[in-house]
């Protein structure tokens, strides 16, 4: 057998066996995909946005399909951090994928209390602080759009946990680079981007918005060029690792994000249409490295930025 390339990457202090992560909100709690046998490929899986108290989420309809995209307004439906710790995390199949919990809240205090509780759970390898959910009115969105409030939040959460802290950025701001720099200063170990882009759809028959919340978050291939541009920009501005996502469906998309400066990538919406997407991307990346005669995935990171001779 020929030597396989080294696929491992590090996000802050967290070592992943490969750079492909299952994005928050699209793998549920990881148990559901286990039946389809497609979970054990990932470097990490990110558990759905978790809040202090249970949240019922938004009224239906919560989904609208758009050209190559998906609008959702699920709104952080989750059973609350205590139930997640008690019932969900122990059930996640341990396949070698790291477990990252996506944390959301309405106030600094709420984020801190969730982080404190998760800090005590051994099975949780890292926290992804969601300062960017577009679907909760009081949600992190105000934090995530303004550099100063983002920094204050991250600084406070940093004090509550020794776990690796990834901060998830929203594209729904004119200043994503400023927010990224601010959270780096405040102690983030990494940033991940992008969360969904605010959008809407109208049912012309009923002359009403399709989503009950009028606006929802757009994901899927439709957002990829925007996400890629933001990953490129943000990775120019920070020295901490960047986790890139937004419309990644195949190995080639993942390569684009890595070349743009991401150290790892996450796959969300693509898993809905193709549960094997994670597996195919991991294999595709390996095959690509082999075909290029490369032995380390880390050499791809930011390679599109190299000055050409």
């Amino acid at each position: 057998m020929t030597e396989r390339p080294d696929m491992s990457v590090a996000i802050g202090g967290l070592k992943l066996r490969n750079p492909v992560i299952a994005a928050s909100g699209v793998v549920g709690y990881g148990v559901e995909y286990a039946d389809l046998g497609v979970l054990d490929c990932f470097g990490a899986i990110v558990v759905k946005g978790t809040t202090l108290a249970p949240r019922a989420g938004n009224p239906p309809p919560r989904l609208a399909e758009t050209p190559s995209g998906l609008l959702n307004s699920v709104g952080l439906e989750n059973p609350g951090v205590d139930a997640v710790i008690r019932e969900v995390i122990p059930r996640i199949p341990r396949t070698g994928a790291r477990i990252i919990v996506n944390v959301a809240g309405a106030t600094v205090d709420e984020y801190c209390r969730v982080a404190e509780k998760l800090d005590r759970v051994d099975d949780v390898d890292a926290l992804e602080i969601n300062i960017s959910c577009p679907n909760v009115r009081t949600g992190g969105i105000q934090f995530g759009t303004v550099p100063e409030t983002s920094a204050a939040l991250v600084e406070a959460v940093r004090k509550c946990t020794g776990k690796v802290l990834i901060v998830k950025l929203t594209p729904n701001t004119g200043s994503i680079c400023e927010v990224a720099k601010a959270v780096e200063q405040a102690g983030a170990d990494a940033v991940s981007l992008i969360n969904t882009i605010l959008g809407m759809a109208i049912d012309v028959q009923s002359r009403r918005p399709v989503l009950s919340t009028v606006f929802g978050g757009l994901s899927g291939p439709a957002v990829k060029p925007i996400a890629l541009r933001m990953v490129w920009q943000v990775s120019n501005e920070v020295t901490i690792p960047v986790v890139g996502m937004g419309g990644i469906s195949e190995a080639n998309d993942a390569l684009e994000f890595l070349m743009a400066g991401a150290s790892a990538v996450a796959v969300g919406t693509a898993l809905l249409r193709n549960p094997r997407a994670g597996l195919e991307i991991v294999r595709g990346l390996e095959d690509w490295l082999v075909s290029e005669g490369m032995d380390d995935i880390r050499a791809v990171c930011g390679s599109a930025k190299a000055v050409r001779p």
């Binding site: 909100g25 699209v26 793998v27 549920g28 709690y29 559901e32 995909y33 039946d35 389809l36 759905k48 019922a56 989420g57 009224p59 239906p60 309809p61 919560r62 989904l63 609208a64 399909e65 050209p67 190559s68 995209g69 998906l70 959702n72 699920v74 439906e77 899927g220 291939p221 469906s249 919406t269 898993l271 809905l272 249409r273 193709n274 549960p275 094997r276």
Partner: protein, 255 residues
């Protein structure tokens, strides 16, 4: 539950704007054990538009083949209608919880409208195999768009059909009430119409006959992860149609 590529053995019109697609899994394993009311998520393009799979109820499962009956309503089903026989689709199946025929029931009523009759055909087949007497009440906007009536009557279902454009189904609903008061059904299943659901709920309230409804909402994953498909239930909580349903006791659903 598994994901599998399936060969299209047949894809033909069976009513106005309604087609039947017969499939055989490429792994040859069939869908043994699948129950009426369960569904599959079908993907029929390699491109990202349409992006999502479409949920479709099982119309029949037989040996190593299984079928769906679908109405062409938008981009996804238009694409399905164009798929050639001999071509392939990818399905995840079987999904969700099926109907729960009470073992002791002898008289079963199936109340469906339009393509909502599709899952009831598989249910009828199962009920008849269990030796139950099955009564079908099927309506549609026109004779040409009635679904499943031929298959139902071939199976020996005692069938009543109704045609109305506004969804009122008044005569059919009256008939169900009459039949039930003459000799009660001991289980009623429904799909495809709010008015029919309300009737089954009324029967349940008035006479205690258990009723179940198959609900359809927009879905993205079909396996319980995205939380996109919820309905509000009578106990004030959201339930996922894909994994808590799609079949629910009628008293749990707002009429």
């Amino acid at each position: 539950m598994r994901g599998v590529f399936a060969t299209i053995l047949q894809n033909r019109a069976v009513a106005e704007d309604i087609l039947k697609m017969v499939l055989r899994g490429k792994d040859g394993a069939g869908l043994a054990g699948a129950r009426p009311g369960q569904f599959l998520m079908v993907r029929c393009s390699d491109t990202s538009d349409p992006l999502l799979r479409r949920p479709m109820s099982l119309y029949d499962v037989s040996g190593d083949t299984f079928s769906i009956v679908y109405r062409v309503v938008g981009a996804g089903t238009r694409l399905m209608a164009k798929m050639p026989e001999g071509g392939e689709v990818h399905v995840i199946a079987p999904l969700g919880n099926g109907f729960n025929l009470p073992p002791q029931s002898g008289r079963v009523a199936l109340v469906g409208r339009g393509v909502g009759a599709a899952p009831l055909v598989f249910l009828a087949k199962t009920a008849i195999a269990q030796g139950k007497r099955v009564f079908g009440f099927i309506s549609a906007t026109s004779r040409e768009s009635l679904v499943g009536v031929e298959d139902l009557s071939k199976m020996g279902v005692e069938l009543q059909t109704g045609v109305d454009t506004d969804g009122s189904s008044t005569e059919l609903l009256d008939l169900i009430r009459e039949r039930h008061s003459a000799e009660p059904f001991d289980y009623v299943a429904t799909c495809g119409s709010r008015r029919m659901l309300r009737l089954v709920q009324d029967l349940r309230t008035a006479t205690g006959v258990p009723g179940e409804v198959l609900l359809e909402t927009r879905m993205a994953c079909g396996i319980g992860v995205c939380k996109g498909c919820v309905v509000m239930t009578a106990d004030g909580t959201y339930k996922k149609v894909c994994t808590d349903g799609p079949v629910f006791p009628v008293e749990l659903i707002a009429g």
